[in-house]
Amino acid sequence: MDPSADLTSHAPAAHDPHHHDEHGHDHHELGWWRKYVFSTDHKVIGIQYLITGLIFLFLGFTLMMLMRWQLAYPGKALPVLGPMLNVLFGRGSMPEGIMAPDFYNSLGAMHGTIMIFLGVVPVAFAAFGNYVVPLQIGAPDMTFPKINMASYWAFFVGGIIMLISFFVPGGAAKSGWTAYTPLSVIADSGPGHHIIMNGQTLWLIGFVFLITSSLLGAVNFITTIIQLRAKGLTWMRLPFFVWAQFITAFLLLLAFPPLEAAAVMQLMDRLAATSFFMPTGLVVSGAALNISGGGSPILWQHLFWFLGHPEVYVLILPAMGIVAEILANNTRKPLWGYKSLVFAALVLGFLSFIVWAHHMWLTGMGTVVSAFFQTTTLIISIPSVIILSAFFISLWGGSIRFNTPMLFATAFLPMFGIGGLTGIPLAFNAADIYLHDTYYVIAHFHYIVAPGTIFALFAGVYFWFPKATGRMMSEFWGKVHFWPSLICMNVIFLPMFLQGMLSIHRRWYDGGQGWALSNEKVWGLSGFEWNVPISIAAWVMGLAQIPFIINFFWSIKYGKKVNDNPWEATTLEWAAPSPPPHGNFAVVPTAHRGPYEYSLPGRERDFTMQNEPIRDSDRRAYEAAAAAHD
């Protein structure tokens, strides 16, 4: 067959009439429910994950916008909305519009839980992974499509359980996203609480579903990447995004089960009155508990952070993968140091399993243990620096196109940089004694996850939208989305470093008002007063997402129609029709080269797709490059 026929950007007719027939035919067999709801097609599942995940992200953000009121104006009634929320959530959540302490705690715990486990992971790993990975490796679908569907529905049920928990007596879980014991075991128990239908128990049950979902997803991703790579797509020809997802899948596969074990044990503590995490001699409200004791609260922290730390790399690795694709595409040159990137990511994945106790410096683990984890934590910074540096160097000398995906991807770099660098003081246990559990920690990880990962997710949505729909999102509204978001993110999180250094505790209900040190003025405002600009920026940022939401739905119907490869990219997903039909490729692709052959000398176009056969001019270009390297 004519090798250029599957270079679809210039041959839209190649797949068209015949193909769409087949496509339509397929759909006749599947009813509406099987096609859009209980679908086994990785693309539909990816989109389901994306939409559900984005909704949860927005919901989680809404919870935080509410908390920001209480932090900026502690004890003041929230006008209009407050009394309405009191009706919605009931049971004195916001009596007369004033936020009750328990409700504040629920909002905090559920913000973290929803953002991480129902928002970022589903979007970064499950949505993009599902949609893009099979396409990038030239596969017809995932290896286990039914398990894939089960994974989504387990996630969905887990999410619904979490939502229901807001409306049970006592409200949703309120012991932080980390659910530290024994606090979390005592919470939502005793008189007035149903044994199952209470916040913390539902939180744990919801978790078991979410963990099952990740497990099924992880098995599927890894098997798919090993087994269904197109002919010629060797490991070192995989797009970096595929590598990132591959490693992420391993983290989920191996780090989540111990948390599942921990969740089961906490459930036992709550339901069967065991003492896995309950120490001997615990006294609650003046009465000794009728339990055996002998348990260990620190055990929970170990099991939690054994997941928790790899989890933070689950949040960041897919984001790095997305950024890598977009950087290469928009600098029009190969990603700098592809091999180093891959090995750095592998090392990162491995090391992320042996740093967890850096979250536990203040538990009194002992100096030897602390010294070990301090060392590994500092070592893990090295691969992070390698990755970030390779990305920055990739920008060097490129003729950069600043479209919306690229703006978000570029912004990722300094934001991730700030987040990563501010982690180093936390890694030293002497410094962390002061910073632990203050807003400094909040600022540290939000710089990585919010303007870092979430920006990368936006970049990914703008970038792959034309593949999924055949239409572009509006560039103008994309920029209207980007700039306010960037500014607000920094107004929100930069002052938090400051607040943290004034030792304002991350879980205080009054925003630090009652704390002497927070009355110290820094740049004209006291530590406590800094809450006001932060909160305003948070609310403005909520508004700044409206252009995105409108742009997203409007463009599905009315966006500019484009060909199959509008960004003139090189990886295999762009060789499939847009949107790809069930089974993906009109012609099963074969890979002949690496993933980022932009501006290959001797080529008439500045991008050479992975499925274009090697020509003599390519060979000469490779030889010249190798010679220059020697």
């Binding site: 397929d26 017809p140 290896t143 890894i222 921990a262 069967a272 065991t274 896995f276 348990g295 054994f306």
Partner: protein, 291 residues
């Protein structure tokens, strides 16, 4: 649309999909049980002297169950080998035995071992009252021998109402051998054959009891880990048995006619899972029954 490599191996990896899938799944299972076993280690190392009971489980029964599971791991391989040699009736036979083994294991666990514990009672004595109950505990004797102290009086609760009725101030316990004859050196260490219960009845005042509990998860971190781990393991056994039954029912004959290799692959995957379940038990047995 066909997914490639569902039954035939991909040439460069040498594997078909489900084989990779099951190994990955088992890796995660290792981490799941790893989490639970590390909890066991953590809690046991942390336990105060005398608060990690020993010798409460029935070793001969546990040994028998261990043998049953190991045997079933052998028969499942024989079943798979029979399929590979295309001897279907032999396959049915060995698979049938495997299923039977799994069911016997579960019945022993759920109908005998667990319930017998649920009906056993223990009262942990407060530190202040240990001296008072010395005739049942024999701690001076144990100290001499370098053993951990006894802090519990256990046996059959003769007045179960006492558990709920605040006005009853005593537990009447028909004693276990160890509390009946605390000085008997046979009772210093756990025994292989469980000693029969004595006829002696002890009266233990509620004021002297720290925690009174049947042998349920709440009783101690020992029983908490025991029931959690064996419960989860039991669920795995049940899952395996259900899959095996499915692979044994008439649908398997139909699949065998159509694509015997696929049936063999399925049995192989299920068998790998079964070996893992067996392996977990190989850890459970010594950790809980023997050590």
């Amino acid at each position: 649309m066909e997914i490639p490599y569902t039954t035939t191996a991909r040439p460069d990896t040498g594997l078909w999909n489900a084989k990779i899938g099951i190994w990955l799944f088992l890796a995660s299972e290792v981490m799941l049980f790893g989490g639970l076993f590390s909890a066991y280690i953590f809690l046991r190392l942390d336990a105060a002297p005398g608060h990690w009971p020993r010798g409460l489980l029935n070793v001969p029964v546990g040994t028998m169950n261990t043998a049953i599971l190991i045997a079933s791991s052998v028969t499942v391989v024989l079943a798979w080998a029979a399929l590979k040699m295309r001897q279907f009736s032999k396959y049915k036979f060995y698979m049938g035995i495997t299923i039977l083994c799994g069911i016997v294991f579960l019945v022993v666990k759920l109908a005998y071992e667990w319930p017998i514990k649920f009906h056993h009672f223990g009262a942990k004595i407060t530190p202040a009252a240990l001296e008072k109950y010395e005739p049942y505990l024999g701690n001076a004797h144990l100290r001499e021998g370098g053993y951990e102290p006894r802090v519990e009086i256990s046996g059959h609760l003769e007045n179960p109402e006492a558990l709920h009725d605040e006005s009853i101030r005593e537990y009447h316990i028909k004693l276990d051998a160890a509390n009946a004859e605390p000085l008997n050196p046979d009772n210093d260490r756990p025994r292989f054959w469980p000693a029969p219960m004595s006829d002696k009845i002890a009266h233990v005042s509620k004021d002297d009891v720290q925690l009174a509990s049947m042998y349920v998860p709440k009783h101690s971190t020992f029983f908490a880990t025991y029931f959690t781990i064996t419960g989860l393991h039991g669920l795995h056994v049940l899952g395996g048995v259900i899959v095996f039954i499915y692979l044994w029912l008439p649908v398997s004959a139909r699949l065998y006619k159509r694509n015997p290799e696929q049936l063999a692959n399925r049995v192989e995957v299920a068998g790998l899972f079964w070996h893992f379940v067996d392996l977990v038990w190989i850890f459970v047995f010594p950790l809980f029954y023997l050590l």
